[in-house]
């Protein structure tokens, strides 16, 4: 087993001194007295990580990995070296080296920015898992703690982990520092997770893999979507699975918002204006036909915090949701995704709408099955 391991040594620097991120602000952060945290977090992970002797960790020189690996019990080799202070380019180049060396898993320590750099090179080629150390961690590739990351790596090495899709998200940091939250999903990485047997008490169940759970949700959705309504499909791999089962295959955009009616794609990668135009047209059409079919919106929570609206899908604006109607929003999520967040969040920019969307909702989580989940204002 070969595991690639890299640290973004400046990740998390800005957080302790009140900066909303670290990109381009290392000197400012250090001037304000920031202490590097990433190496410490990575060290914690390595202290807990137990691997068999056949496993080897491939890492980078100096504070991008080697400094942390000295004095640890795991076998390691430095395969990427750099001069001076490491940059985002070094993260990317290290990832390329790891891919060439044929690593089975990539363990990185950083925040959303690091996840994005890693994802830009490895995509879905190999699974990645993040040791959380950044200021922002909206991406779903992070373990809950350094120790948690160690456990997942151990399970992966033992062949016990399964893989799931995880959003890689990042903000526009300039906008973020101006208190404007603009968040984007850059893609879906593969991340290992440990399937948990749900059986306790009297029931008798094996865990359902993420892929299977998505298929079950999609199978159910395809059944109820045959009612002739216009369906707006939010971003993500669950809605993509629905499109796949509907026979729309490649047509659905993974990161964008599409519209489907009677098994046909009637709008692709729609922005807010296009969505509003489509809704207006649909309204006029249905009025003519004395239509009884409302428009429905299928959305999946995005990112580690479970935002239904307001992160990564800004085209589904307050105006769009109001036009569709709160009662026509159908939330879909796999049981694993739901288990990761105690409640879901909305932040549409409209206080009134957020209030209407809050409370308990029925989230479709399987074939003809739902979970009651609380939605709060983010």
């Amino acid at each position: 087993m070969k595991i690639g391991f890299l640290i973004n040594p400046i990740a998390g620097l800005g957080g302790s001194v009140g900066l909303k991120g670290t990109d381009g602000l290392v000197e400012e952060a250090l001037k304000r007295g920031a202490k590097p945290v990433a190496c410490e977090r990575a060290k914690k992970c390595m202290q807990e990580l137990e691997l068999d002797t056949s496993s080897v960790i491939l890492t980078c020189s100096a504070d991008m990995g080697e400094n942390t690996m000295i004095n640890q019990s795991q076998r390691y080799e430095v395969v990427y070296s750099f001069e001076g202070n490491s940059t985002s380019e070094d993260t990317k180049n290290a990832c390329k080296t790891f891919l060439e060396a044929g690593v089975d898993l990539l363990l990185f320590c950083g925040g959303d920015g690091t996840a994005r750099d890693v994802y830009s090179i490895v995509g879905k080629d190999i699974p990645v898992i993040g040791i959380p150390a950044g200021v922002k961690m909206h991406s779903a590739v992070f373990a809950i703690s350094p120790g948690g990351a160690a456990k997942i790596v151990e399970h992966f090495a033992a062949g016990k982990a399964e893989l799931r899709d995880a959003e890689v998200m990042d903000t526009d940091e300039d906008a973020y520092r101006r208190n404007e939250l603009r968040m984007k999903v850059f893609g879906y990485a593969q991340t290992p997770y440990e399937p948990v047997l749900v059986q306790q008490g009297k029931s008798l169940f094996q865990s359902v893999s993420e892929e299977k759970a998505k298929e079950e949700i999609a199978r159910f959705a395809c059944e109820f979507m045959a009612d002739g309504s216009l369906y707006i499909l939010g971003a993500g791999t669950t809605t993509q699975k629905i499109a796949e089962l509907l026979g729309l295959g490649e047509e659905k955009t993974l990161l964008g918002v599409d519209a489907v009616k009677n098994r046909e794609l009637v709008g692709k990668d729609l922005n807010e204006r296009e969505l509003l135009r489509l809704l207006k047209k649909e309204n006029e059409n249905e009025k003519e036909k004395k239509g009884i079919f409302p428009v429905k919106l299928l959305v999946s929570p995005i990112g580690a915090q479970g935002f239904v609206f307001g992160r990564g899908n800004q085209q589904l604006s307050a105006k769009v949701i109001e036009k569709v109607g709160v009662e026509n929003v159908i939330v879909l999520a796999t049981p694993h995704k739901l288990s990761e967040t105690p409640f879901l969040l909305v932040d549409t920019g409209s206080e009134e709408l957020d209030k209407q969307l809050s409370g308990y909702v029925s989230v479709v989580c399987g074939y003809r099955m739902a979970q009651r989940k609380e939605v709060r204002r983010g």
Binding site: G201, K202, L204, S339
Partner: protein
Amino acid sequence: MNAKEKIFLDEEEIPKEWYNIQADMPSPLDPVLNPATREPITPDDLAAIFPMGLIKQEVSTERWIPIPEEVREIYRLWRPTPLYRAKRLEEKLKTPARIYYKWEGVSPPGSHKPNTAVAQAYYNMKEGVERIATETGAGQWGSALAFGTMLFGLKSTIYMVAASYDQKPYRRVMMETWDGEVFRSPSKNTEYGRQYLEKDPDTTGSLGISISEAVEDAATHDNTNYALGSVLNHVILHQTVVGLEAKKAFEQIDEYPDVIFGNVGGGSNFSGATFPFAGDKLTGKKPDLKIVACEPMACPTLTKGLYLYDFGDCAGMTPLLKMFTLGHTFVPPPIHAGGLRYHGDAPLLCKLVKDGWIDAVAYHQTEIFKAAKLFAETEGHIIAPESAHEVRAVIDEALRCKEEGKEEVIYFNNSGHGHFDLGAYDAFLSGKLVDYEYPAELVKQALANLPQAE
């Protein structure tokens, strides 16, 4: 007014007859159909796996059916069970209602299940059957059957769902202590099991697979029959000892319930505890009596299901039963009240619900555990998650009585203890319970657009 906390009957007052509600129903049950011919099944159709004594009970419309003395003798081991007055719960709720519950957790296997397991073992023994095969999900029914067969010198073979076999070793040990032969299902003991294992050696099993193994075992061995722990008329009949004892105990203290609650999985616990009272409603003696079936939101058969003919099992091997159903292919989610995870319900109970004699209500998992916790804090017993459903309903009713200043008499059957369910309590206490629910509207929309099945 009664001031006692427990009302005990004498052993001689264990009922001598079971009560068959079919005698008092205004219209008869729809027949059970042979899936191949769609004609009503005949006793002969069932004779391959059930003894004639039980088949006769299954189709009987006699009001009273004698309980064999040998069965009553064994009932004496734990029957009559006490009728409790839940005074501490009443005080905690500050309700004017008087709450009573029958406590079936005192039986050796810890639930109401042996009331029928013992009777079924007896009739099989009488007809020379040497062994009974059955399935068990988590072990409650398997434990009761191992206990019942042992007492009549019969052997039992129990196909226990693999995941449960691995994770609930104490239930298995319980069955083995009562001489039960327990197989991790799917097993190599049956053709079906062998085929399944070949296809999927790492499977953790399911109740459907275990049923198929048990039925195959019974059908392929002359000395072996099959037994079922709920749903069927004869199972419900046996469970009426609970309601009959409760009626007698209420007579002793000159009370009669205004409202009765019970949890429903397959329906035998609920029906056994309530049918003797429901008979008074059907015959006009107690027209205002309210009877309420409590079920999980995750498997809301009576509140959200359709009333039609469906298979009793997942594989579609059983005769067709007219009942409320969520569809025999519906797999309920992994809630902790595992005993309530059944896609259909007993046809007798379903008909009474359909005809408006019995009401039904559904609850989320978290709210029933809150009720179970309050019950444990006041009455002490840590109850099974199944029973927690009616405790939730009882508490809500008692609070309504408080608001309205009504002195109702509330009765429920506390069907078993939760000592093997502490994992579920742990999940509740640590805030990890998931509130599954059945998306009825979306399912309705989906069904409306599906091609109609033949």
